[in-house]
């Protein structure tokens, strides 16, 4: 092996620990994003009255903390512990994201009591948060940039709305707290979930094709292989969600959308557990995504 190639080969033996650590932090970052944007979406559009529950404040606080930690840690782990790790486009959007989180923390208590009136403002904030991820990703630049930006924005918004909603529902269903309100919330969430799934499928397909550069290029790559893993987990998640709702509906002898305080406790818990398992699979999707980004065409 010639000297130059030795250096080439030697370079790619990057620390396995670093790779695993980076993947783990990425998953935490995804979770933080889902918690922060998803829960605020849930409280803004699906259940504004739920803002009084301390569970949601904890979810948002945890989401903010995970988002900030992951945003700061990922460049450091990936590029070394120096200011230059934050240099360039990634750094700009990382700090912009933390700035938005800080703004949210500063004014959240002031507008949390009037989420209906401030829906537009909160939605703009959520959109800005999403764009900090989109504009630091490979959606920016290259060919079909506009398609990739729109697709990625839709993908992230749908991810946050669906997974954030699942988490919010599970956090209410499992302790069986405030079930009356779910009578109205579940049908709304059901619509959001359906729209989100359709958006995820369409935007994910568009994005993958645009990034890979075509169907053949996508299939014949490790990026495509890891994408298939993500799609399989995603499909299992959909199936489990459907089965869980059917099971809970049968247990209660009523539709899952009609669950309220009069439903037998075991059926409420069954739905809660099904949603919890659905979210566990969602965590699997997030892990698959963390793996996927390692193989995306560079």
């Amino acid at each position: 092996m010639i000297a130059g190639a030795t250096a080439v080969a030697g370079d790619v033996t990057t620390s396995g620990f670093d790779t695993v650590l980076l993947g783990g932090v990425r998953v935490l970052g995804y979770l933080g994003f889902v918690l922060l944007v998803g829960t605020t979406f849930f409280l803004t559009w699906l259940w504004p009255e739920g803002r009084v529950l301390p569970t949601f404040r904890r979810l948002i606080a945890l989401g903010a903390a995970l988002t900030v930690i992951a945003t700061l840690a990922i460049p450091l782990i990936g590029s070394g512990f120096a200011w230059s790790s934050y240099a360039g486009r990634d750094g700009v959007w990382s700090f912009a994201r933390i700035s938005l989180v800080a703004l949210g923390i500063a004014f959240a208590p002031d507008i949390s009591g009037t989420t209906r009136r401030h829906r537009l403002l909160i939605t703009l904030w959520q959109l800005a948060m999403i764009e900090t991820y989109v504009l630091s990703s490979d959606a920016w630049g290259g060919s079909l940039a506009a398609v990739k930006i729109v697709a990625t924005t839709g993908h992230l918004a749908a991810t946050a709305a669906w997974l954030g909603g699942l988490l919010a529902l599970a956090s209410v269903l499992i302790p069986s707290d405030g079930l009356d309100a779910l009578h109205e919330v579940l049908p709304r969430f059901s619509i959001v979930a359906i729209v989100s799934v359709i958006t995820l499928v369409v935007s994910g397909t568009l994005h993958a094709l645009a990034v890979a550069g075509g169907v053949h290029a996508l299939i014949d790559s490790r990026f495509g292989t890891s994408l298939i893993v993500k799609i399989v987990v995603f499909g299992a998640m959909l199936l489990l969600g459907n089965v869980g709702r059917q099971y809970a509906g049968q247990a209660a002898r009523r539709s899952a959308l009609e669950i309220d305080e009069t439903a037998p406790p075991h059926s409420v818990q069954a739905l809660g557990v099904a949603i919890g398992m659905e979210f566990s699979l969602a965590a699997g999707v997030l892990v698959a995504t963390a793996v996927l980004v390692q193989f995306a065409p560079g």
């Binding site: 010639i2 130059g4 190639a5 030795t6 250096a7 080439v8 080969a9 370079d11 790619v12 990057t14 670093d18 790779t19 990425r26 970052g29 995804y30 889902v34 990922i74 590029s79 200011w83 230059s84 934050y86 240099a87 360039g88 486009r89 750094g91 700009v92 990382s94 912009a96 933390i98 700035s99 800080a102 703004l103 923390i105 500063a106 004014f107 208590p109 002031d110 991820y133 630091s136 990703s137 490979d138 959606a139 290259g142 993908h155 992230l156 991810t159 990034v211 890979a212 550069g213 290029a217 996508l218 014949d220 790559s221 990026f223 995504t289 980004v293 390692q294 995306a296 065409p297 560079g298």
Partner: protein, 263 residues
């Protein structure tokens, strides 16, 4: 009072982060060579950053063999922008070990590789160039070309995945021509690195030359003052970015006697 404090501290933090974002935007991005990046973007569910520095790309050989030389640049063609970065290391026999990193303008699933014939360079018509020990790598995957790479021939190489970053390693032999009359060991060495093209126009090429006997390098195809394209000191020179089609240098060097002349 507590609410006021919360608002003020949140606002201050937001302003500080906005200032940091501006500062980050004004700081040049480190290249993969400066700091090997393990993965892609931090974006949830989105694909990774397309920033060249964000790909898991091979690193240039260490510059520790470059006596009294400043390190090669960490950014530029082949590293942070589309183009090629070439490190050529001259051995005592006049062969050149080449490491080359190519950054394509857009992800490609195949590239055309051509190593130009250096015999068109002035004064080097009689060299017998051969390309040996060719290695190609994408990410961490070695790539086997469907047919052998040869001087002057264009070969299409299918890549295992769409990528912007391709690394090559190869040895050029028979590219040295002893000067005469001249001190013993004095030679001219022709170096025309591989031209790698994917989809879109190729970017410029920067060539770094190392080796204890390297005295200087010129780019005759540039013509006029442009021939003086390389800067550096004995043992290490670096060219300015050259158009890919004209990227060729003539190296002047003193080749050391075999076995240090003690034989």
């Amino acid at each position: 009072m507590r609410q006021h404090l919360r608002r003020m501290s949140g606002l201050l933090l937001a302003v500080a982060c906005a200032a940091a974002a501006v500062a980050a935007g004004r700081t040049p991005e480190p290249s993969a060579a400066a700091a090997p990046v393990i993965g892609g973007s931090s974006g949830p569910a989105a694909a990774p950053s397309s920033s060249p520095s964000a790909s898991s790309s091979p690193r240039a050989p260490s510059s520790t063999s470059r006596p009294n030389a400043a390190p090669f640049p960490k950014s530029g063609p082949g590293r942070s922008i589309p183009g090629s970065f070439v490190v050529a290391s001259l051995d005592n026999m006049g062969a050149v070990l080449v490491w080359q990193r190519v950054l394509l303008p857009a992800p490609s699933t195949s590239v055309k590789v051509q190593v130009p014939d250096p015999r068109s360079l002035p004064g080097l018509r009689d060299v017998q160039p051969m390309m040996r020990d060719v290695q190609i790598q994408v990410g961490d995957q070695p790539v086997a070309p469907s047919e052998p790479l040869q001087i002057g021939r264009t070969v299409t190489v299918t890549l295992p995945e769409p990528t912007r970053s391709v690394a090559l390693g190869y040895r050029l032999t028979g590219v040295a021509q002893r000067s005469s009359p001249a001190p013993v060991g004095r030679a001219l060495i022709a170096l025309a690195p591989a031209q790698v093209t994917g989809s879109g126009a190729s970017g410029p090429t920067v060539i770094g030359i190392t080796g204890t006997g390297v005295l200087g390098a010129q780019c005759p195809r540039q013509g006029g003052p442009g021939q003086f394209c390389a800067v550096g000191t004995t043992g290490s020179f670096l060219t300015r970015p050259l158009a890919a089609a004209d990227a060729a240098v003539v190296i002047q060097a003193t080749l050391a006697a075999p076995n240090g002349g003690s034989g």
